[in-house]
């Protein structure tokens, strides 16, 4: 019997992943033979200088883009083989997203945005799911904003709504791409604290792309990417340690 990613305690895995854009002399290698596994329940940060392939890696792991070579799994599902509609359903049920900006559907209020993944699935949240959503709404301080539209909220509040939506379906994995990129540093810290808490308290697996050492210091594990390759796999680190390593990487480049 073959060993499945889940047998190794992994929630997601990629093997020998390659991604090239374009062809011929103008081709760009965004990912070059990347293999890694994300552990269940962990908050993983993916770091690297601009252009190192962080977003590309995340897009492939989330089934938003397909690799040029290699494979990617979510749980035990090989997502590199799935059709567009199967990937759509997978995103609906098993993945949550928090983006840098433009996270919310402008025509829906806070409740509508949080409920959207359920509605897309054509169902109402079950009793225990509803309790979970209520808990999230309270924990994220959104109770008195529940009927507001996104444009009536501050950037930090919008990001909290996005987090609530991402966690609402208790997905296998939440992807966050520079979730604090558009926030001031205090609001940014708050949002990071919430993500870290979701992982620590509820065992939510999270993969966060960032180039901010302070953001990465909230994570359990930090993967460093440079020129499309994993160059370091570190445990929890302080912002200073991360900065030092990043600076060293820049100098080496």
């Amino acid at each position: 019997m073959q060993i499945q990613p889940s047998d190794l305690g992994l929630i997601a895995r990629v093997a020998e992943l390659g991604k090239r854009y374009g062809s011929g002399s103008g081709a760009v290698t965004a990912l070059d033979d990347v293999s890694l596994g994300l552990r269940r329940g962990e908050f993983t940060a993916i770091m690297g200088p601009s252009g190192s392939g962080k977003s590309t890696l995340m897009h492939i792991m989330a089934g938003l883009d397909s690799p040029t070579s290699g494979r990617a799994w979510l749980g035990d599902t090989d997502i590199t083989e799935l059709s567009d509609s199967a990937l759509t359903v997978l995103r609906r049920r098993r993945i949550g997203f928090v983006f840098q900006s433009f996270n919310l559907v402008p025509t829906l209020d806070v409740r509508g945005n949080i409920m959207l993944p359920f509605e897309l699935d054509g169902r109402r949240p079950a009793q225990d799911e509803q309790e979970w959503i209520d808990e999230l709404v309270d924990a994220l301080g959104l109770r008195d904003r529940i009927d507001h539209r996104p444009h009536e909220l501050s950037g930090g509040q919008q990001q909290r709504v996005a987090i609530a939506r991402a966690l609402a379906t208790r997905p296998d994995l939440v992807f966050a791409d520079e979730p604090t990129g558009n926030l001031d540093s205090r609001t940014g810290r708050e949002v990071l604290g919430l993500l870290a808490a979701a992982s620590a308290r509820y065992g939510q697996s999270i993969a966060m792309v960032t180039h901010d050492p302070v953001a990465a210091s909230h994570a359990d594990r930090i993967l460093f990417l440079a020129d499309g390759r994993i160059v370091r796999d570190a445990g929890r680190s302080s912002a200073e340690e991360i900065s030092t390593f990043m600076l060293g990487m820049e100098r080496a480049a």
Partner: protein
Amino acid sequence: MRATFAGQWPTLLVAALAGTFGTALLHVTGVLAVAIAADDVTGESDTVALLLGIVATVFIVIAVYVSSVVTANTVSTVVAGRTRLIALLRLIGSSARSQRAQIAREGLLVGVAGAAIGVVVGTGVAFALDRVAVATDLMPATDYGYANPWVALPAVAVVLTTWLASWVGSRRVLKVRPIQAIGNANEHDREELGGRRGRNITALVFFVIGTALLVLGVALGLVSPFGVLIGLVGGIVSFTGIVLGADVVMPPVLRRVGRVFGRTPAARLAAENAVRHPERSARMTIGLVIGVTLVTTFSVTMASYHELILAAQRAQPEVYQGVDEMLNVTVAVFTVLIGFSALIAAIGMVNTLSLSVMQRTRELGLLRALGFDRRQLRGMIVAESAALTLAATLTGVVLGFGYGWAGAQALLGSAQGTPALVVPGIPWALFGGLLVAAAVLTIVASIAPARRAMRVSPVVALAVE
């Protein structure tokens, strides 16, 4: 500058259509006038030719008016979608006035091009119609020379109105603040609402005064057919009020219509999209409302007249012999002529829907990332298109029915010697036609945007600007 001209194709199309319509109609009336002058029976009187001229002018004015409303709305939509670019240019030192002047200049050029195309194509169409009519013995050959100087008039009107409409449509450029270029990447969801209240009050005043005049016209119509003239003025004034207040009138209609499509996420988002910017939905639909109202008003008035004629015919068959057929032909011809304005308005809706979908690329990407599949996205766009079309058509039919009945009452209330209530004729054929047209428009308007929406990759929602 190519980027700026790219958004001008719809305006060029609308200007060219209006120009073609005006030119062709003038040539055709010219040909008819020559034919009538040559005829032994009717040749004596100039009245027929004069009447033809007046009728042609009315239809050309309507078409040019509708096309300038459409153009102004297209320009505003383009400008709204370019807010960030405009803000960036403002940021690096370009003045709002010069940017607006630039848009108006483009409008002038597009107007000239459209008018030129219109003169050429319109002359060709009229010539072809002339030949076909002669070949099928519908009409004797005439020596009408196509160098008719009057044709310059619709051409000039198209140039001026396109220019003016671009100017009016670009006024929101003045409201773009340079800071919007560096604000966060969230879509600017609220359009500026400045000057709304003033316009709404004007709209209300127009509507009230117009309605009062309309009522007066109907009352007068009980004793004299001249009541219709006052009624006509009242109708124009009150309808202007409705057009001005479109962003108050249309959203509630859209909201009701939107409920028809059910509660699926796609339908709900479509309904919300249709009303999210009152100004934008008003812009998208008002041209079509004008077109449908005109067609319906005319048809209801004529149908009422027809009923009256039928009644008279039953009483005195000899006197009214052949009237029926003539009336039908007249109604058909006029409906087609007004229908052309409705067509221009429909093109306007196709444009604005397409533009507004293009401007929502990131939002569509977000929906894809969250788990909307392609079919749901397409369903959303089709439902949005259907909501806009249905709302505009229904509003137009209701208004047109009211105006048409009022017109018939004012015109015919005294026709039987004693004051009488006129039963409104119901133009079933027209309603059927409108229903089919609305369905076709819904599909046509949603093809391009739906295809584009289905191609949107979920990755665009994550892209950092």
